[in-house]
Amino acid sequence: MKFTRLAEKFEKLTGQHEQGSAIKPDKLDKLRQLLGDKKSRYQKKLDATDDSGKRKKLERRLRVVRAQLDKLERLARS
């Protein structure tokens, strides 16, 4: 393989890699919005129930969603 061709391939490859690893901010915004909606949905359900079993389950789910939102913010900052 000629050197120029090799260089071209390398450039293409690294370009693709960089492109692949970068998460576009608009996609993160969309995800933030979806997770936010979910969080409010769970919160509403939690406020509406007195069943301890259901509350425990919803609280756990809420904690997971919050952890995901935190991770998303960390990702957006980096």
Binding site: K24, K27, K30, L31, L34, R60, V65, A67, Q68
Partner: protein, 600 residues
């Protein structure tokens, strides 16, 4: 109806036969021991698959002339073409040689067996193989107790041969009384009808005595006593050749379809050779005279001439049939088709798609879902639930608590036929297409491959769980029963959730992916709860320590299965072209983060 009554009828007939005839009992026991030997032999050879014997057999049978030579040499050494054919049947059943190579060996064995005629002619020698049975059995069993796989295999082969010899011995003993009833002189008939009749007698005598050598001795005695004509003697020898195939046919009863095909090839070869020899008997007599004269055999030395004839007609048969080996193999494959096994076949993998990366990923994903579907069925039955109960019941926990039906099925067999086959096809497809895939596709491909592996692991874990889950779901101890029902519920709930997300056409891939984290947190929480409950019920003696140990062990299987299922779903629910889902993949929590979210 027929199927239900067949076995009792056979048992009754056998029982009646044993009662009225001790000889019949001996013959039947001989056949049973012989078949038992075949099973041992096959098992023994299987130990060598992938090893030295396989390589040796492949090298010595990869060309027709080599397999012919293998048959000639091995039969000359063992002095029994029947034995070589049954061993070849076990080779073929263990997948050590191909059908064509097996047929070559059988053809060679027919030439090799003629050395016996020469030995009988020269020395009146009859190798008594049954004398070896006892030492072979003893050595074989001693070796089969060893730890080494190869020693165990060698032991099984030796014991198998020992049982074969012993079986043949009992069959011979049983038939001994019938031997004296052959009054050949009374059956003398001229012309071709006589030839066919004597060929049939020769075949029957060999079946009865289980040795063509013994039949040859009988022929020579009859010839010496002028009980039969020379030509009738030749016909008897032809029949003896056909009669030897019965041993292979009995051997094939316990063999797989390849073994049965080989026994068929043996029968066809010997019958065709026999018919040709009878049809051209005068030409053969002439040829025998020419050969005998040229090597200095006296005109009335029928013993030697019979050996010449035996060699000539078997050689003719081989020369006639060798060019037709492949056709014969094809004919046998068509006429003895493999029983259609309920094997799962890949539905979406096509070599034609390899050139198109998008299609490769799409078909691969669909195939992994297909694998998931097959595994779903096994997992559902593994925890004694119907697929419909998991997917449709309104209150899954209640359904599990109330349903105590044990699902009887062979999990190993289903794993082999439905999961392993598909997994193998997926791995093979990936290895073929990987080189053609652009780098941006390789990550998803890797994920799908990992997912397929995780599905396989899930089925294996369910296999381990099944035993105790079945025992304890029927237990009268409600505490252990409830705990195991909880384990069943956890698996069923996750399967149900995955299918719900999959069936939901409007679902958002990214959110589905993240929802798996919530399920993982539930598992984590269930684990912590279980630990607490087990300590409590054990302290109060509500379950035994053995039950507690089983429960904790099995919970680990459930835990692993649940994680694998969720990871699989995460891999299957996203696509590299869905950029929001790709972003969600970065947000998915790791094990530590989930643990933190569960306990805080």
């Amino acid at each position: 109806m027929l199927k239900k009554t067949l076995l009792p009828t056979i048992l009754l007939i056998l029982g009646y036969g044993f009662w009225i005839s001790p000889n019949f009992k001996e013959i039947a026991a001989g056949v049973a021991i012989f078949l038992f030997g075949m099973l041992f032999l096959e098992d023994g050879f299987k130990a060598f698959t992938g090893g030295v014997l396989e390589k040796l057999l492949q090298k010595t049978t990869d060309k027709t002339w080599k397999s012919l030579l293998f048959g000639v040499v091995s039969t000359s050494i063992m002095q029994s073409s029947s034995l070589v054919s049954v061993i070849t049947i076990s080779f073929i059943s263990a997948g050590l040689v191909t059908l064509v190579a097996g047929i070559g060996i059988i053809f060679g064995a027919n030439i090799g067996t003629t050395t016996g005629a020469w030995l009988v002619a020269a020395f009146g020698l009859k190798v008594k193989i049954s004398a070896y049975a006892m030492p072979m059995l003893v050595f074989g069993i001693v070796l089969s107790f060893q730890k080494s796989k190869y020693l165990k295999g060698a032991g099984a082969v030796l014991a198998g041969l020992g049982f074969l010899f012993l079986g043949i011995h009992y069959m011979k003993e049983g038939f001994e009384t019938f031997k004296d009833s052959f009054d050949l002189a009374s059956l003398a008939v001229g012309g071709y009808p006589g030839l066919f009749l004597f060929a049939a007698i020769g075949a029957a005598a060999t079946v009865v005595m289980q040795s063509s050598h013994a039949t040859l001795v009988l022929i020579l005695t009859a010839l010496a006593a002028s009980q039969i004509t020379y030509e009738n003697g030749l016909a008897l020898a032809i029949g003896a050749n056909v009669g030897t195939t019965i041993t292979a046919i009995i051997g094939a009863l316990s063999a797989n379809i390849q073994g049965k095909r080989l026994a068929g090839a043996h029968l066809i070869f010997n019958v065709v050779t026999g018919v040709v020899a009878i049809a051209f008997i005068h030409q053969f007599v002439w040829a025998v005279d020419i050969v005998s004269e040229s090597v200095g055999i006296a005109d009335d030395n029928y013993t030697m001439k019979l050996a010449v004839f035996h060699t000539l007609f078997n050689l003719t048969g081989v020369l006639l049939m060798v060019p037709l080996i492949q056709r014969l193999a094809d004919f046998l494959v068509t006429s003895l088709p493999e029983k259609a096994q309920d094997l799962a076949q890949p539905l979406y993998l096509s070599e034609a798609a390899i050139e198109f990366p998008e299609t490769v990923l799409k078909s691969l994903k669909m195939e992994v879902w297909h694998l998931f579907d097959s595994a779903f069925e096994i997992m559902a039955h593994g925890i004694n639930l119907h697929r419909s109960q998991i997917l449709e019941s309104t209150d899954l926990e209640k359904t599990i608590a109330e349903d105590r039906e044990v699902h009887e099925f062979d999990l190993d067999e289903l794993y082999e036929s439905k999961v392993k086959v598909l997994y193998g096809a997926i791995v093979e497809f990936i290895s073929h297409s990987q080189a053609q895939m652009p780098s941006e596709f390789s990550e998803e491909m890797f994920r799908l491959r990992k997912a397929a592996g995780e599905i396989v692991e899930c089925v294996k874990h369910i296999k381990h769980l099944r035993k105790n889950a079945t025992t304890y779901m029927l237990s009268t101890n409600e505490h252990i029963r409830d705990e195991y029902n909880q384990l069943r519920y956890q698996i069923a709930m996750i399967l149900r959730e995955i299918y719900r997300l999959r069936e939901d056409v409007d679902f958002d891939h990214a959110m589905a992916l993240l929802e798996m984290d919530e399920l993982k947190a539930e598992i984590q929480s269930a684990h912590a709860d279980l630990d607490g409950r087990v300590t409590s019920v054990l302290r109060d003696n509500r379950i035994t320590p053995a039950m507690a140990t089983s429960l904790l062990n099995d919970f680990n299987y459930v835990d692993e299965t649940s994680r694998h299922l969720l990871d699989t779903a995460q891999a299957l629910l996203i696509s590299h072209s869905d950029l929001v889902a790709e972003a969600a993949l970065e947000v998915v929590l790791d094990e530590e983060e989930i643990e933190k979210a569960t306990v805080s």
